[in-house]
Amino acid sequence: MKIRRIYIDADAADDPVTEQVCRRIGLPVKRVNHPVEIYQQISASPDPEAAGKSVLLLTRNKGRFIRDCPGTTHYTCCGYQILHVGAYCSMDCAYCILQAYYHPPVLQFFTNHDELNEQLQSFFDQGVVGRIGTGEFTDSLIWEPLFPLAQQLVERFSRQDTGNLELKTKTAAVDDLLAISHNRKTIMAWSLNTQTVIRHQERATAGLSARIEAAEKCQASGYPLAFHFDPMILYPGCHADYEAVVHLLFARIDPANIVWISIGSFRFMPELKEVIARRFPDSTIIYGEFIKALDGKMRYFKPLRIRMYRWLIDRIREKAPDVLIYFCMEDEEIWEKALGFTPAAHGGLARMLDERAASMCGLNGRVQTR
């Protein structure tokens, strides 16, 4: 993280987390009564999306810490729940939706961990199997140099048996997690892509080998693992490149340790196109054969998605015939044509994944039909 300035929201000034983060970073801080002045300053920058990565706002989460994944209409959501610990990301991926999701985007870390812990306890007390993760509005592991939140969460989840935590990342910074007692309640997950995509579209992220090496370390420490081929991007030569990723993955990782692999293709809100064109002028990912899909987002023309998914699934199946593969935000037609079944036949995608989590992570809660 290359933070140049820290702002503290007045409400968060007395939180112990604030004090701890400030002590660790050692940069001068400025207290603000309302973040609007930070937003104005960032918006005035020629590259607000980059400017927002150099400013950290320590603030309280004024909404719920645990919330349903926003999903989208018309497409099947996995029913994952978000643990909203912070927002935005220090890495810089061309396709990142967060660039257009926040206006403007600013690195925010929430400091009211007393409320976070209360809400987590309520979540555990329900006795219902639930999958929860911190990697939706940010990367799960980028905050560790500032505050050992992931470490605390792993430890916290290890002491219960109804929910599992998924830490989703593009970093390789797992060393501090290896010695923690996790009781298999935390799934360590990596977003995977081809070397070409990582090199050209994912600035400041760990390389593919580093990610897989980090996964291997976690595997050795007994963590269950997950991988997300999302967003898959079509370009000349991409099939061979994705095959190489699959080959590299299964050369180092035992399929028996993989809880699930998700697959999704590059999709974006139309307004993201302008941001990518401006910020990543050499990137051509927005010029693929995209159509406006049912939820208003741009998606690859469906037959292209089906062909790409089938191909990747065949490659994965050659190495790991029994691993659970699911699609992120696709419809039943895609499921049927690319995987040969629909989640409805198995009680729905959320239930499929809950049952898998229960069996792989040793959860004892009730599996609900959602």
């Binding site: 064109a277 159509i291 899909a293 469906k302 037959p303 039943e332």
Partner: protein
């Protein structure tokens, strides 16, 4: 305005100095005819410079008199103390108070006055008493238009390109921007068609790592644009189709396959089958319009027949042949 009327040798006018020129008269014959008929009613305005008299207003009139082979011309000579800003104001007012300036002329006026104003708002306020009403937002756009090649400015002034489309050309190289201006000048697409064509060509050029002007020369497009057998409307239609086919090859193949199979269903008159938008959803629409029970019965019979047709199955499966 402090000025003195004098008779000046026409050779003393520095016509090549265009620092105050707002209009670019294409054809001075009309002005020459008027001068021949009624004389030079409104003499050009000039200011003495180092190498002769610099024209401030009346470029068309001076050129017309030159073409009429006059040796001398009456001019209003501004005092040497008249500032460049005042000269520009006179140039703008001389034109704007007599007729509506087109977009290229407004663009030139704004560009020349820009250095004297702090921002678009103050420039807009400066222009108003000179007879030129340009909102500050438009002033900002005209600054940008002025940076584009003159062909683009002129095509915009002639309404061959909308101002917004012209401003989109900022993102491409100047030769390509000129090529687009030329293309729109010859094909006259509507505003929506301009956006569609530009966006298609822009994305294709990025994908194929080439420039738009070079892309327009590939046989697929050049064949249409150079065809002597096609009129403007047909060229426009075929060019749009060709761009779309190249930009969305799989989608275009799917559309062609759908239409071919739909034809093979040989539906009765009044029946129509529509695919979901972009083939994304799974719901197709069958429409039946009829005006008699006999027609409805024929359609019902046809419906039963096409339900068994292999091409309907292929349509619903959204099958497309590989290229």
């Amino acid at each position: 305005m402090q000025a003195e009327q004098r008779l000046i040798a026409i050779g003393d006018l520095v016509l090549s100095d265009r620092r105050y020129q707002i209009t670019r008269p294409e054809n001075t014959d009309r002005i020459a005819n008027a001068i021949q008929g009624a004389g030079l009613i409104n003499p050009p305005i000039v200011q003495a410079g180092q190498h002769g008299y610099i024209l401030v207003a009346g470029f068309g009139r001076a050129s017309a008199c030159l073409n009429l082979q006059w040796r001398h011309i009456a001019c209003r000579v501004l005092a040497g103390t008249t500032s460049p800003l005042d000269c520009l104001k006179i140039a703008v007012a001389d034109n704007a108070l007599t007729r509506q300036l087109n977009l290229a002329e407004q663009c030139r006026a704004v560009a020349k006055l820009r250095e004297f104003c702090e921002n678009a708002r103050s420039l807009s306020a400066l222009l108003e008493p000179l007879g030129l009403f340009i909102a500050p937002q438009l002033v900002e756009k005209l600054y940008r238009l002025f940076e584009l090649p003159e062909d683009v400015q002129n095509a915009t002034a002639l309404n061959h390109i909308s101002l917004n489309t012209a401003l989109s050309l900022e993102s491409i190289d100047r030769t390509s921007a000129e090529a687009i201006a030329g293309l729109f000048k010859s094909l006259r697409p509507t505003v929506n068609q301009q956006q569609e064509i530009f966006s298609g060509l822009h994305d294709l050029a990025r994908l194929e790592e080439t420039a738009i002007d070079r892309l327009l020369k590939i046989p697929e497009f050049a064949y249409i644009l150079d065809s002597a057998d096609l009129d403007r409307g047909l060229k426009l239609q075929r060019l749009r189709t060709a761009i779309r086919r190249r930009r969305y090859p799989t989608l275009s193949r799917a559309e062609n396959a759908f239409h071919r199979r739909k034809r093979s269903l040989q539906m009765e008159a009044g029946m129509d089958l529509k695919p979901p938008a972009n083939f994304e959803d799974t719901t197709f629409t069958m429409m039946m319009r009829f005006s008699s029970t006999r027609q409805l019965c024929r359609q019902a019979e046809c419906l039963g027949r096409i339900c068994e047709h292999p091409d309907l199955k292929a349509i619903l499966n959204k099958e497309i042949e590989d290229s």
